[in-house]
């Protein structure tokens, strides 16, 4: 595949065939806890997409120009977490200052994001798969959108499910996991479309 097409392939692959939530199980904790309401899910989804799109290339720069030259690759866990936490804090302050409406819409989700494993996971995948800078932007954006699609779809299904009779032992986490399993099966239908390892 030519180099110019590659980032776009990564973009679609990270949404569909390699959905970060449904095939790599990243960000499950907040996925299970927040997917009860459609609106909150969409808010969290947008916040995750935004933070992923920025922190993945940011961590790429830090890794390439700060850690590799000094042979400090083993410190990447700590450094990535610091970058993510600092960025989230910064964004929170910025939107609090400039846009009150946005702050009330997204503000409450931002602290949750630092501990969302999807964010750290995307940065770690980016290092392991040796993406270049452009690919890491597309990978971050695609992973975020994939996560957004998954949580919004789940919230929609769970809203319908409120009137359904679920066995008492399966209520809550159990039935959500079953639905996630079916969604993962549906997303497996995309595999073979694009193959990016």
């Amino acid at each position: 595949m030519s180099d110019t097409l590659f980032p776009i392939a990564i973009f679609f692959a990270s949404i569909f065939t390699g959905n970060i939530l449904l095939t790599n199980y990243l960000g499950m904790c907040s996925f299970l806890a927040v997917s009860k309401e459609l609106e909150t899910s969409a808010g969290l989804g947008i916040a995750v997409t935004f933070v992923l799109t920025v922190t993945t290339p940011l961590n790429w720069l830090v890794y390439k120009f700060l850690l590799v030259p000094f042979g400090l690759e083993y410190l990447r866990f700590i450094v990535f977490i610091i970058v993510i936490a600092a960025f989230v804090q910064l964004i929170e302050m910025a939107i609090e200052r400039y846009s009150e409406g946005l702050y009330y819409a997204l503000g409450i989700f931002l602290p949750l994001i630092t501990v969302n494993c999807a964010i750290l996971g995307a940065s770690l995948f980016m290092v392991i798969r040796e993406y270049n800078f452009v690919s890491s932007i597309f990978f971050g954006l695609g992973s975020g959108l994939g996560w957004f699609i998954a949580i919004v779809a789940m919230a929609g299904i769970r809203q319908k499910l409120r009137t359904a009779k679920v066995p008492p032992g399966l209520e809550g986490a159990g039935i959500t996991l079953v639905i996630a399993g079916f969604m993962a099966m549906a997303f497996m239908g995309f595999s073979g479309m694009i193959a990016v390892s």
Partner: protein, 203 residues
């Protein structure tokens, strides 16, 4: 009294306060690594090591950490132990390290570790926190091993890499793929919840 408390601290995470199926924490790695027993064993040992030692360290420092920055300090301590796990794995089990990929690093964001530090280690003595961390790790271990046992057996017909079922067995490919993990955990939670609600009715 002291002995009683020790016993309670040790037993709670194994049963009614189990981090995986009661508190639903640390699900990411629960699902990702359980398609093979060997991977699961290594991963859970890493988590147990990190939880126990992070709880112990934070408990030692608990009177010196300003509460405003305690999250940051906790994350740093946890990340340090995870780096130790990562380096040891890379040095002695490079194949395993490659297979686990990013999930070793993701122990940092595993909610079990942070949860125990926040909920227990900040209020308790170092020795007790160490026991609590260890027990939480054990509670996590046996649930994961049970799930991995079923997934590997049905998915590949083998256990610990050895072929157990004969050639008559058709592999359930779905079990080692992502959906299998979701279904197995759901079934496990279902069974446990049914048992717990039954017991509660008897009492």
């Amino acid at each position: 009294m002291a002995k009683n408390q020790l016993k309670k601290t040790f037993l709670a995470p194994l049963g009614k306060d189990n981090p995986v199926f009661v508190q639903i924490l640390g699900i990411c790695s629960t699902l990702a690594v359980t398609n093979k027993l060997q991977n699961t064993m290594v991963m859970t040992l890493g988590v147990m090591f990190t939880t126990a030692l992070s709880s112990w360290t934070i408990s030692l420092l608990r009177n010196h950490i300003p509460s405003r920055i305690r999250m940051m300090v906790e994350t740093m301590v946890i990340a340090t132990f995870v780096i130790v796990v990562d380096i040891v794995l890379k040095a002695f089990f490079p194949d395993m390290w490659k297979q686990l990929g990013p999930y070793v690093g993701l122990i940092i964001t595993n909610c079990i570790v942070m949860g125990r530090v926040e909920a227990f280690a900040l209020q308790n003595k170092p020795s007790l926190s160490l026991i609590d961390g260890l027990a939480s790790g054990l509670g996590y271990t046996y649930v994961l091993m049970a799930i991995a046992f079923v997934r590997e057996l049905l998915g590949t017909g083998s256990l610990w890499g050895y072929q157990i079922l004969g050639s008559w067995w058709t592999n359930w490919a779905i079990m080692i793929m992502p959906p299998g993990g979701f279904f197995m955990l759901a079934i496990f939670i279902w069974i446990v919840k049914e048992v717990i609600t039954k017991e509660a009715k008897h009492v």
